[in-house]
């Protein structure tokens, strides 16, 4: 096998190593193939960056991984934002599932 399969664990490890993420939640939204993920990423490196810049940072950090999987979603928060949303939602700050059907990707991938 030329490349290791992308997994929740490998994405988590990459985000902790490359983005100094302090909290990572990865959720399989593939509905079977195991190659579609949605994520909640908390990193101090997002501070002072708008949403687009944060996503670009993540896309760059996971360039090879995202190229190999079928679908990718992310929510990017600073530790402060994460703490505030956790407090405001009673601990319900989760990876985004908009665009999925019951948490699974529906449609043409890639």
């Amino acid at each position: 096998m030329a490349q290791a399969a992308i997994s929740e664990a490998s994405i988590r490890a990459a985000l902790i190593e490359r983005l100094k993420a302090t909290h990572v939640e990865i959720q399989d939204m593939s509905g079977g193939c195991g190659q579609a993920f949605t994520s909640l990423i908390v990193s101090a490196e997002f501070a002072g960056k708008n949403s687009l810049k944060r996503h670009r940072l993540v896309n760059a950090a996971l360039k090879d991984e995202i190229a190999q999987i079928h679908a990718w979603s992310a929510k990017c928060q600073t530790p402060d934002e994460y703490a505030k949303e956790m407090a405001a939602t009673g601990g319900n700050d989760k990876p985004p599932l908009e665009g999925t059907e019951d948490g699974k990707v529906a449609g043409v991938s890639g």
Binding site: H55, A67, A106, G107, V108
Partner: protein, 165 residues
């Protein structure tokens, strides 16, 4: 439904391939060369020019899978729904179906330096993909931006009236 009516009219300028001959009538490479270029992440001048043209074809441009009436992916569906809810003027909107054109499907990722589809442009500026569109919709930033850009359908001009044109 209001949003569907608004956006169904916007589906007309979807043919990416229709504008490509204008952009690159002579230099269009063979499909093999194009797929090779895509693998190497090289965007040919012809494809880049065609995407330039598509991006500039309307104030609000969505590159998506499927059409506004029949999205072929949940993320494209969510994005088109958001634009409908926001009340984007169909006269100021264009959608391009990347599934109809492999050059566009690969090329737009390189062009925007963005790995996924859908992709939203407003006034030729890249806004983001589904996650960003939905979060900007939820936090009010999208409404403000679309208002500032003057791309919303005018009030008192209901979708029904437009449909009868």
């Amino acid at each position: 439904m209001f949003s569907r009516t608004i956006l169904s009219r916007a589906a007309r300028p979807t043919a990416f391939s229709a504008i490509r001959p204008v952009a690159a009538p002579i230099t269009t490479p063979s499909p093999f060369l194009l797929s090779l270029a895509a693998q190497r992440r090289l965007l040919s001048d012809g494809v880049r020019q065609a995407i330039d043209k598509a991006v500039g074809s309307a104030p609000v441009v969505l590159f998506m899978k499927g059409t506004p009436e029949t999205p072929q992916c949940g993320f494209s569906r969510a994005s088109i729904q958001v634009l409908g809810l926001q009340g984007v003027d169909p006269e100021k909107f264009a959608a391009y179906n990347v599934l109809e054109d492999q050059d566009l499907r690969q090329g737009i990722k390189e062009y925007s330096d963005w790995p996924t589809i859908p992709q939203l442009y407003v006034d030729k500026e890249f806004v983001g993909g589904c996650d960003i569109i939905v979060s900007m919709h939820q936090n009010g930033e999208l409404a403000k931006m679309l208002e500032d850009k003057g791309v919303l359908a005018k009030e008192g001009e209901p979708a029904e009236a437009k449909k009868k044109e």
